[in-house]
Amino acid sequence: MHPSTLVLRRSARSLSGPAFVRWGLIGAAVLLLGVFLIVPLVAVFTFAFQKGWEAYVAALTHPTALAAMRLTLLAAVIAVPFNLVFGLAASWLIARFQFRGRSLLMTLIDLPFSVSPVIAGLIFVLLFGRQGWLGPWLLDHDVRVIFAVPGIVLATVFVTFPFVAREVLPVMEAQGSDEEEAALTLGASGWRTFLTVTLPKVKWGVLYGVILCNARAMGEFGAVSVVSGHVRGVTTTLPLHAEILYNEYDLAGAFAVASLLTLLALVTLVVKKFVEWRSQPS
């Protein structure tokens, strides 16, 4: 053995403490991981399939389940592109320019993170609800926001607001603007510079933000629950649908829907891991 590796091994051992401490800590970590992550994961699928494969498929193909899926997808399809555009614009603005209100903007972007989703939902009820500020006007013009699809989309957009901006901003700040300036001196317009220089530089950050944004958009419960009104088949997203089924003691149905969301989470984790791996500088 090379002398230096010997030294390394020895110092590693001296840093790690006695065996019972090591195994005790590892055991505690494994136990916690099992109880809080593995067991629930197994439980979701066990409950989902407890009445067999047919019941599982039936629960998922029920018209109200399909409607919930459509609404969930609709909310995500609107919220993700909206927040993508907003997140890119906001992080570009904050990373590249010094202006009055810059830190206020940064704080505002984080607001949805710090506000309880239920409060976020209530804000929309107070704004657009029957007794809300804009309620009477909306009623006069026959526009329904609360207890309707627009409310769900609005609430989803609100709670997923920070995801893209929060992921892209640090990447943009770390990379500086030298390349953009070089592109400008070479004659490229601002728009072209953004598309051919800025965007390729931050693409992994953007993708990462989009993945997280999408996961949250599809999985959001609190804010959406407040504005939804739980009109089955009309204003229920997948998480709300799962809750309704659960409250009706349809455990197999509730967990079948839950398993769908769990699968989404697992796929998200895999894609996220892949993006992290690809974005590492080689």
Partner: protein, 355 residues
């Protein structure tokens, strides 16, 4: 294709000191002009103002006689090389060089021919398919030059282009830039803090200090006739001697040199003496002329081809003398010895000296 800057001013923080304050200078067409100064002198800001990457608070920039102050950076036709190279990391060398041509919608065949021509010019034709991350610092900087020159700029602006490179590569690239300029005769503005670089490859030098022009002129002007104590101390590593005007001469202890014509009797003066403007000889009793003094060798520092001698004069001032190796060996002095120092030339300014 000259560059003229008139009364240019730029302040970054309201109430703070200006980065550039009312700077005027003229960079003659077809020449290399250096903007030389210590860090924080406003050199890079000035370059960015000329490139159009910053907007001046006051003043004008004229490129080839045309007022370009309000012209967008894209239309100025300036080739800029940044210290950080600023290459597009996600594009190959060839794509980097082609970028400006694609923006200008140069037809494909012409574009490809021009890219190859540029790569040949910077001797990187075999690396066209590589990414910037796969190149050495010197190669990256040459790609940056090729990219800037591909668009046939009217003027070339270089912001500390060799600052991040090691000495040997820096000297090679300096030579290369000199040869390139001989061929292209492109009006070039070079920002540098390295006086060697400025004096060696430029025909015109603008010395900057705290956002102002300290002196502008040929390298010989700057080196031989510094206009202010700042320039005298910044260029050439001079030592400072302090004294007074006595009988029309600047007297520093036993040593005296010619005083400026305007100096009045008894006024304080300080003289800048370059390390190679002092000649050392064996100390002998008597026989001293006005421009010689006997000093004690405090320390010797051999630096390759020459030896740095740190000398303490009777007046208490310390001077640094550079003696070629052969001369030093013939002189045969050791630390603690007394030697006679003959000041061959000094630049004298009236007033107290303070840094």
């Amino acid at each position: 294709m000259s560059i003229v800057v008139e009364q240019l001013a730029r302040r970054f923080n309201r109430g703070g000191s200006p980065a550039v304050s009312r700077v005027s200078f003229h960079a003659p067409g077809g020449a290399i002009t250096s903007l030389l100064g210590p860090s924080g002198a406003g050199k890079s800001t000035l370059l960015r103002l000329i490139a159009g990457l910053e907007i001046p608070d006051e003043g004008r920039v004229l490129i080839d006689g045309v007022d370009s102050t309000q012209m967008p950076v894209q239309q100025r036709g300036v080739g800029v090389v940044f210290q950080s190279y600023a290459l597009f990391k996600h594009l190959t060398v060839r794509q980097n060089v082609a970028f400006g041509l694609e923006v200008r919608r140069v037809p494909k065949a012409e574009r490809e021919a021009r890219v190859e021509e540029m790569l040949r010019m910077v001797q990187l034709e075999h690396l066209g398919g590589r990414y910037p991350g796969q190149l050495s610092g010197g190669q990256r900087q040459r790609v940056a030059f090729a990219r800037a020159l591909a668009i046939r700029p009217r003027v070339l602006l270089l912001d500390e282009p060799f600052g991040a490179l090691d000495t040997r590569v820096r000297e090679e690239l300096r030579e290369w830039l000199h040869a390139l300029h001989e061929r292209t005769r492109l009006t070039t503005l070079l920002v540098t803090h390295d006086q060697q670089e400025a004096l060696e490859i430029s025909q015109h030098v603008v010395v900057l200090s705290e956002g102002r022009v300290a002196q502008a002129g040929s390298p010989a002007d700057i080196y031989d006739r510094p206009a202010s104590p700042f320039v005298a101390s910044f260029i050439g590593g001079a030592s400072v001697l302090r004294g007074h005007v006595q009988a029309g001469r600047a007297a520093m202890g036993a040593l005296s040199v010619t005083a400026p014509a305007a100096a009045r009797e008894g006024e304080p003066v300080h003289a800048f003496v370059r390390p190679h403007d002092i000649k050392l000889a064996k100390a002998v009793a008597g026989a001293a002329s006005a421009s010689t003094a006997t000093g004690r060798v405090e320390r010797l520092k051999p630096v390759g081809g020459y030896v740095k001698v740190f000398l303490r004069l009777p007046s208490g001032d310390e001077v640094t003398v550079e003696v070629p190796r052969s001369e030093f060996d013939a002189l045969g002095v050791a630390e603690g010895d007394s030697v006679r120092a003959d000041v061959r030339s000094a630049t004298v300014f009236v007033g107290d000296y303070s840094i």
